[in-house]
């Protein structure tokens, strides 16, 4: 937080780095920072996780006890799918399918001290992929202007309007596997650990991958 020039007795106070990630995109070779507010949904106390575990165990014994899980996570799952699907009705159906698959496979679920939501979202992720494999539709990517603003960290709105097409083009050039990671990290604010659990990969691998994608985006923007 504190930054000072020692020998010359120059003291610069309150130099605060608000940011959790360093992102290397911007025109030219400038190093930029990007704010990522991590989704608080993922962060749970040990007590909360333990309570979740009890809920799951109860549901394993009797499917009727699945209700608290369904009630608690319906919105989380729905939002995850609605982020990727255009239609509300189809989102509802896929959400039901996710809970159906969850219930069907509940006996196989092993508690590893991680939030149950990660497992649910892994199923939701797979169901969404299945959906797009079956229908001939473009993959929907929903985002807010503020996400783009964050991505450029440019406060001048006119400048953002100029950069927007290039940025969207750069995103369009990404493979679906890569765009999914950008979506989770920067449009949904998910922690690397949670992303790793959803994608069933190591956290370190996900981190590495995200930084490589950002490099790719940077190069793509520089070409424009």
């Amino acid at each position: 937080m504190l930054n000072y020039l020692r020998k010359e007795k120059i003291i610069l106070k309150n130099v605060t780095f608000r940011f959790l990630s360093v992102i290397l995109i911007k025109q030219g070779n400038k190093l930029k920072t990007l704010a990522v507010k991590i989704n608080p949904q993922y962060h749970k106390t040990e007590e909360q996780i333990s309570f979740e575990h009890q809920m799951v165990e109860a549901a394993k014994k009797d499917a009727k006890n699945f209700r608290p899980i369904y009630d608690q996570y319906y919105e989380v799952v729905y939002r995850f799918i609605f982020q990727r699907i255009e239609d509300e009705e189809i989102t509802s159906e896929i959400t039901s399918e996710v809970f159906y698959k969850t219930l069907q496979n509940l006996q196989k679920y092993e508690f590893r001290g991680l939030p149950f939501s990660s497992w649910l979202l892994r199923i939701a992720h797979n169901e969404t992929i299945k959906y797009y494999r079956k229908v001939s539709k473009s993959r929907v990517v929903k985002l807010q202007t503020e996400h783009l603003q964050n991505l450029t960290e440019e406060e001048n709105e006119n400048y953002l309007e100029d950069l927007k097409p290039a940025l969207l083009n750069a995103l369009k050039g990404l493979k679906i596997e890569d765009l999914q990671l950008i979506e989770m990290r920067f449009f949904e604010g998910r922690a690397f650990k949670e992303m790793a659990e959803i994608m069933d990969k190591k956290e370190s691998a996900i981190k590495m991958k995200v930084y490589r994608i950002l490099e790719k985006l940077k190069i793509s923007l520089q070409k424009k």
């Binding site: 937080m1 504190l2 000072y4 020039l5 020692r6 020998k7 010359e8 120059i10 003291i11 610069l12 106070k13 309150n14 130099v15 605060t16 780095f17 959790l20 360093v22 400038k30 190093l31 920072t33 699945f66 209700r67 369904y70 009630d71 319906y74 729905y78 939002r79 609605f82 009705e89 189809i90 509802s92 159906e93 959400t95 039901s96 399918e97 809970f99 159906y100 169901e127 992929i129 299945k130 959906y131 494999r133 229908v135 001939s136 539709k137 473009s138 993959r139 929907v140 990517v141 929903k142 985002l143 807010q144 969207l168 369009k172 493979k175 679906i176 765009l179 370190s204 691998a205 590495m208």
Partner: protein, 566 residues
């Protein structure tokens, strides 16, 4: 490349709106009857009305569950079965293995699958969903071949053909499914660039017709005839090979690579070693990605400054923690900058070893920049230099560990292969005589159908294609079903009459108070309910009782074959 549709600042739903859709009771009631993803069901797209009707029927069914009336349950289930997906694999974890070919769209190519069948794909054969030719991309073509009755059952593809209201069973000379994908997206076939298929078949008759599965209209479309040519190797030749002596040698036994890999991956020892290998690979990847910059020794006379970093706030800046920034030649500190509050610092790579450090303020255009070289002095430099060298030693060490881990896996694979060959050798010796007898019988019974031939046809759409002849089955007995005995399982029941000699299966949805048809010449009749398989104990059935010996959920195709006694 996947097509994306960006929705910027689109509709956002409130928690209230989402939670209004939540209905656990309906969900729970629907769970029992659901066996397949809704969007895999063609009827979903055709009519949500039908889905609603099925749900209402199901709710009625479960509401009546207290009355414990099996007949009511079953009569409702028949309505649901009518709305079941047209292609409906009965065993969730069992799938007929496919071959996936990576096809360069500009070049096409010739591809051979595990059964020896061939796909000839012309250049520029693929369309994207907008109907434009796909260029400069690789398309994954998934080629699945359904060779026998077991494959037909596993596939869930209906093998019945309706002609003018009369149902026939398809006696198959071979069936293929061909699909194309780029990433997650399905691609289409350019109708003017059809794929030529050369399918290996054990049935040489020219009586077979050629059909395409119309999944939209839930029917098979007749396309005409395929053409047949005899392959150099026939079953007769095989029989002669058997006759020519018991000359099976271990060196002749080839275990499919996939099988060895499957066994290897199931071995706990492999899992342990593979886990270690992945761990080492990741460590190497991380180490290689994080090769540090070579430390530079500070010039004692030059002006320097350092950054004091709060670890929790700025973990990405930790590498700069003990670094001194030596001002670049020509740079001077402006004392006016010393007593101001700055909100932000950017580090930007400059020329050579230089970095440009920019201090700025929120909501202000004021910025100051200094060019400096990150340097270390004294002990810090010595330590960093040691660490720099140690980093490369570490990578070298990890690579050696990786090599050893890979050698261990290689050795394990070799061991597994040897054991598999020994086992297969023993089995083949035992089975040889039996196979010989079976082959001779088959030749005698159906001299027309026991040749290995190549059947030629072309396809101009991705989908499921079948070389079939429609067999009119003879009903031996038709009886009203009064009782179903299928262990403790409830839910939809589907029976399959298996006609091994004709390479066909005939399926029926069963419900109480409906008629069950018993056919002549079927090899075996099985029932499938909730993913479990049961073998019909008695045929024809008596007193309207359908009684099954429940075997369970098949874990493999081999197990299924065993249960079907094929």
């Amino acid at each position: 490349m996947t097509d994306y549709k960006f929705d910027i600042d689109g509709k956002q739903l409130s928690s209230e709106e989402i939670n209004a859709k939540k209905d656990f009771d309906s969900f729970y009631k629907g769970v029992q009857a659901k066996s397949k993803s809704f969007y895999q069901k063609s009827w979903f797209w055709a009519s949500t009305g039908l889905a609603t009707l099925a749900a209402i029927l199901l709710i009625t069914n479960l509401d009546n569950s207290n009355s414990n009336s099996l007949s009511e349950n079953e009569s409702n289930l028949i309505n649901i079965s009518e709305n079941s997906p047209f292609v409906n694999p009965p065993f969730e974890h069992l799938k007929v293995e496919s071959d996936v070919f990576n096809v360069e769209a500009n070049r096409g190519g010739i591809f051979k699958n595990r059964h020896g069948s061939i796909l000839k794909i012309p250049a520029f054969a693929f369309f994207n969903k907008k109907g434009k030719t796909i260029k400069d991309q690789t398309v994954q073509v998934e080629f699945t071949e359904y060779k026998d009755v077991v494959d037909q059952i596993i596939s869930g593809i209906p093998m019945e053909y309706d002609s003018a209201g009369i149902k026939y069973m398809f006696s198959s000379a071979g069936m293929v499914e061909i699909r194309g994908f780029i990433g997650d997206s399905a691609v289409k076939l350019n109708p003017e660039k059809p794929i030529e298929v050369e399918m290996k078949s054990n049935y040489k008759s020219t009586e077979y017709n050629f059909y395409c599965l119309n999944e939209k209209d839930k029917k098979w479309d007749y396309l005409g005839k395929d053409s047949v040519s005899r392959s150099p190797e026939t079953d007769e030749d095989k029989a002669q090979d058997f006759n020519s002596g018991n000359n099976i040698a271990k060196s002749d036994i080839s275990i499919p690579k996939e099988e060895i890999e499957a066994k290897l991956q199931a071995a706990p020892e492999y899992q342990k070693r593979a886990k270690k290998r992945i761990q080492i690979q990741q460590e190497i990847e991380i180490l290689e990605a994080a090769v540090p910059s070579k430390p530079i020794k500070a010039n004692e006379k030059a002006e320097k400054f350092s950054l004091d970093i709060l670890e929790e706030e700025n973990p990405e800046l930790l590498p700069y923690k003990n670094v001194q920034f030596q001002l670049a030649p020509g740079e001077k500190i402006n004392p006016q900058h010393t007593n101001q509050n700055w909100n932000k610092v950017d580090l930007e790579k400059g020329e050579g070893n230089e970095v440009i450090i920019t201090f700025s303020k929120t909501n202000s255009r004021q910025k100051v920049q200094y060019k400096a070289i990150p340097v270390l002095e004294g002990k810090a430099f010595d330590e960093a230099h040691q660490q720099y060298l140690a980093h490369f030693d570490n990578i070298k060490e990890k690579k050696q560990e990786l090599k050893e881990a890979e050698q261990q896996i290689k050795f394990l694979r070799k061991e597994i292969k040897k054991k598999s060959v020994d086992k297969e050798f023993a089995i083949q010796q035992l089975e040889m005589a039996e196979k010989m007898a079976q082959l001779k019988n088959a030749q005698a019974e159906n001299a027309q159908a026991n040749k290995t031939v190549t059947r030629f046809f072309t396809v101009n759409n991705f989908g499921i294609y079948n070389c079939d002849k429609a067999s009119n089955m003879i009903v031996k007995k038709e009886e009203k079903v009064h009782k179903i005995e299928f262990g403790k399982e409830k839910g939809l029941l589907k029976t399959y009459d298996v006609f091994s000699n004709e390479n066909g299966v005939y399926s029926q949805h069963i419900s109480l108070n409906n008629f069950y048809k018993d056919f002549k010449n079927e090899t075996i009749t099985i029932g499938i309910r909730a993913g479990k398989l049961g073998v019909l104990k008695q045929t024809p059935i008596e007193n309207g009782i359908l009684s099954f010996e429940v075997k369970g959920k098949p874990s493999s195709k081999r197990e299924l074959k065993k249960w079907l006694d094929i």
